[in-house]
């Protein structure tokens, strides 16, 4: 079986880093020099997509598609989202607008949200209580989506997000039948 999952979220949240951390094949990236250092102080930014793969066994794999984070690249989002099982939404807790960014991506990927095919990974948290604000925010919106504190540089952290997403998607599929 082949499943496709997306990595979505604002610029600098760590989509490219996460895919690079877990991919079993050399990831495919489309990085360009980043001139918008005010938004995220890093050397490069994704302009089209990231692509990686996790090999589960001989004939199953998970295809990972990373999106460009900025709104100016939002024309890429539906193209890449086609046929996806679900999405990992990454946030940067140190960003002052992180909650608004969460809302923005929930809205942009409303179809996945409505079928519960989304997990939230919050990066750069200081302690485990930090994710409470995102959990409370989702709860207030009537959404029961898993939220994890994560460090996208660590393979095990990213795998946990992916495994949760796949388990949830499978469960939802069973419930819908």
């Amino acid at each position: 079986m082949i499943s496709k999952i997306l990595f979505i979220g604002p610029m600098g949240a760590g989509k490219t880093t996460a895919i690079t951390a877990v991919s079993d094949s050399e990831p495919i990236t489309t990085e360009a020099d980043n001139l918008d250092r005010a938004q995220s102080d890093k050397a490069t930014t994704t302009v089209a997509l990231d692509y990686g793969e996790i090999y589960l066994d001989e004939d199953s794999s998970v295809l990972l598609y990373g999106m460009p984070g900025q709104d100016r690249f939002d024309f890429m989002w539906p193209i890449l989202a086609e046929g996806a099982l679900g999405a990992v939404l990454l946030l940067d807790h140190s960003h002052p607008d992180a909650v608004a960014q969460l809302d923005h991506f929930l809205e942009a990927f409303a179809a996945l949200v409505s079928c519960g095919a989304l997990v939230v990974g919050v990066g750069r948290v200081q302690n485990s209580q930090d994710i409470g604000v995102y959990q409370a925010h989702l709860k207030a919106k009537g959404l029961a989506l898993p939220v994890y504190a994560t460090d996208v540089r660590h393979k095990q952290n990213v795998l946990l997000l992916i495994e949760t997403l796949i388990a949830n998607a499978e469960l939802n599929e069973i419930l819908e039948r």
């Binding site: 489309t30 001139l35 994704t46 089209a48 709104d71 024309f75 607008d97």
Partner: protein, 143 residues
């Protein structure tokens, strides 16, 4: 929702790019739109489009150029020269413009009436001339 900050460009860069786009327009009567973008999709110069139209076109130019570059590398086909999309109502041509320390992208749309070869030649020439001018401009700034 989030306003895309327009990154400030060094003064003179926009004018130089604009001038080259106008020259390109003169050599190609069938040109519909042309833009110069930073490699990460910020507009620098444009002809025949509004600033809003240019913002969309430049982001797409950056994505197309980035994807083309990755394809070129993945499929081991040397350096990317440019990308051409053949459409029912014309051609979309995209080309990388080398510049010291950063790269720009030029994207142009021509009507179906344009000759493929002429359009290709024109954008190649424009990218080359602009690159030469940008190198000279950067050097003059350093001196």
């Amino acid at each position: 929702m989030f306003n895309e900050p327009s990154v400030t460009q060094p003064s003179g860069l926009k004018e130089l790019c604009q001038q080259h786009l106008l020259q390109l327009q003169e050599t190609l009567s069938d040109m519909r739109v042309a833009v110069v973008s930073t490699a990460d999709g910020f507009p620098i110069a444009m002809v025949e489009t509004t600033p809003q139209g240019a913002r969309r076109a430049t982001a797409m130019a950056a994505a197309l150029n980035g994807l083309s570059q990755t394809l070129t590398k993945e499929l081991a086909t040397g350096q990317l020269e440019g990308t051409v999309l053949e459409c029912q109502q014309g051609l979309i041509l995209c080309r990388h413009v080398a510049m010291p320390k950063r790269a720009l992208v030029i994207l142009m749309v021509v009507d179906a009436g344009a000759t493929y070869g002429h359009a290709l030649w024109a954008i190649k020439q424009a990218a080359k001339d602009l690159s030469t001018a940008l190198h000279a401009w950067v050097e003059s700034k350093i001196e």
